[in-house]
């Protein structure tokens, strides 16, 4: 029997990985911001524009039929990708942020009232805070935040019962923290919420391209993800919503495609999911997302998850060994990213120095300013990995970190 190729062999599929940056081979460790794209995805994009380009759901001509079939084919593929029970539970959006905004408007405006509580956690990305702040302002609801324990970055589940009060209407939380590398217990959180009749939303931006996702097993009502963090193009993502919930929601944007009929003064809505997709959609990127999903399943999402655990643990351990480092996030069972501060050296300086050696890191608050404030820092440096990253690249990063400490006399 043939052995599956080792994960590092997939590097050849990613043209952007093979370049020199400032005279050094690129070591791309900013995958939590966006992943690189395999050639097959790039080809899918240009093939659509070269051969099949037409608008969807409108024409009767051949090209429009092809475009419509490929577009709706992606919906079916996405449903299988996250094991939705029905294809109509998939709504295409620009990404996780737009998916959350869709729920905050189309669900929130209708079902959240003054005095209700929207429960989030202290580790949320701005995109899972700000839309709820705006909803709270519109409705008179308030926000509450399930606490994070500290530098080890775990949700304080011992407090969950206190926070899941009868006033809570929605629990929205991240599956994997982009700032800490924490993997949250989605099944348990959703189950606790469900028992109390609380609706749940999972931000799967960091998990969708890194592990198998099964919305029925997770037990969530909504799930949001972005294509560009999982080998797909930018500008395309999706919202999963339980069909019976989507049926009760009203549209949030009006326009073509989302209507069934229009008069000068009145209109009726198209059915789910189309009533949430006004206007010409992002057709080419949606079709290329299909290719990205196929590609990830060819690599194997279980293998990617395993690699994440290994490389995340390795990087954490090596940074700890380096010394004079403050590490964030859990020691055990962490995702494939490390968030850290070198003592007395600001993250921006670290990232500038690393860049000069071809190592692409992220330095900043990672769009989690409230969490940074809670931890008493303004920013951290972050290395985030994907299946094409190797332990040799981690070793090189550690060597560069050591060099930075030396330069700064630490």
């Amino acid at each position: 029997m043939n052995q599956p190729p080792s994960l590092s062999e997939y590097r050849k599929d990613f043209p952007a990985l093979h370049q020199q940056v400032h005279g050094h081979p690129l070591i791309y460790l900013d995958n939590a911001a966006t992943s690189q794209k395999p050639q097959v995805v790039i080809d899918a994009l240009s093939r659509f524009y070269q051969c099949d380009n037409a608008n969807v759901h409108r024409g009767i001509h051949e090209l429009s039929n092809r475009a419509s079939a490929a577009f709706e084919g992606t919906r079916e593929r996405a449903g299988r990708f996250i094991n939705a029970s029905h294809t109509d539970e998939i709504i295409f959006t620009r990404g996780t942020t737009e998916s959350i905004n869709l729920v905050a408007n189309a669900w929130g405006n209708q079902f959240v009232k003054a005095g209700d509580v929207i429960l989030l956690t202290e580790m949320e990305h701005h995109s899972n805070i700000v839309p709820w702040q705006m909803l709270a302002r519109r409705t008179g609801a308030t926000l509450a935040f399930l606490p994070v324990t500290g530098d080890d970055g775990l949700l304080d589940l011992s407090r969950l019962d206190d926070y899941l009060t009868s006033k809570v209407r929605l629990l929205a939380f991240t599956h994997i923290s982009n700032a800490l590398g924490t993997i949250n217990p989605v099944v348990e959180l959703c189950e606790q919420a469900r028992k109390r009749g609380i609706t749940t939303l999972v931000d799967a931006a960091q998990s969708a391209g890194h592990r198998r996702l099964d919305v029925q097993e997770l037990g969530c009502d909504f799930l949001a993800l972005s294509g560009h963090k999982m080998c797909g193009p930018t500008g395309i993502g999706l919202l999963y919503g339980r069909l019976d919930l989507l049926e009760t929601m009203t549209p949030w944007q009006g326009g073509g495609d989302m209507i069934s009929s229009v008069d000068y003064h009145e209109s009726t809505w198209n059915k789910v999911p189309h009533k949430f997709e006004a206007g010409t959609p992002n057709i080419a990127d949606t079709i290329a997302l299909h290719t990205a999903m196929d590609y990830l399943d060819q690599v194997g999402r279980d293998r990617i998850a395993e690699h994440d655990l290994e490389i995340g643990a390795y990087a954490y351990h090596q940074l700890e060994r380096l010394g004079k480092v403050r590490l964030f996030g859990p020691r055990q069972q962490r995702a494939g990213l490390v968030s850290f501060l070198l003592h007395n050296i600001h993250a921006h300086d670290v990232v500038t120095f690393a860049d000069q050696q071809g190592v692409a890191l992220r330095g900043g608050h990672h769009c989690t300013q409230p969490l940074m404030k809670k931890l008493g820092v303004s920013s951290t440096s972050r290395a985030s990995f994907y299946f094409y990253n190797t332990t040799e690249e981690v070793d090189r990063m550690i060597e560069v970190m050591g060099g930075i400490q030396k330069f700064f006399g630490e």
């Binding site: 921006h348 050696q357 900043g364 920013s379």
Partner: protein, 149 residues
């Protein structure tokens, strides 16, 4: 390992970033302003005491990267005793220096010249400018916090 960064992180800059001058609150300040870089979360506060159109004293506090700290520290050294007009002119000279690397004839940059390397690192220009923007805003009596964005 980092030869190409010796220009940017000169010894003067390292010294100022580790032991910033004029650091802390200023009692009796009559203008102050907050500055922030929303992309990285850095924040700072600047306090000035002006009299007869002259910056008699100024101090600052905040935390951020070495470039930001060194630039703010060097700025406070060089603005002391200057008139508003001189401050404005110096800001223009400094702005040109770190965005283009160009030095105008008969300039007044003095020690600020050590920051010329910033122009080759576009992502770091806002670090070097944050303190300056806050100082200009304080002098103009602007109540809104200044932002690098």
């Amino acid at each position: 390992m980092f030869e190409e960064l010796n220009d940017l992180y000169q010894q003067v800059i390292m010294d100022h970033s580790k032991k910033p001058h004029n650091f802390g609150m200023l009692a009796g300040a009559n203008c102050c302003a907050r500055g922030q870089n929303p992309l990285c979360g850095d924040q700072m506060q600047i306090y000035l005491k002006t009299e007869d159109n002259i910056v008699q004293d100024l101090r600052w506090e905040g935390d951020g990267c070495a470039i930001f700290k060194a630039s703010s520290s060097l700025m406070t050294d060089s603005l002391k005793g200057k008139t508003r007009e001189e401050v404005k002119q110096l800001f223009e000279e400094f702005h040109a220096l770190i965005t283009t690397g160009k030095i105008v004839p008969n300039h007044h940059l003095g020690k600020l010249e050590v920051l010329s390397g910033v122009n080759r690192f576009p992502a770091r220009v806002k670090c070097a400018l944050l303190g300056w923007r806050a100082a200009m805003s304080a002098l103009e009596g602007d109540q809104q916090p200044v932002s690098t964005e």
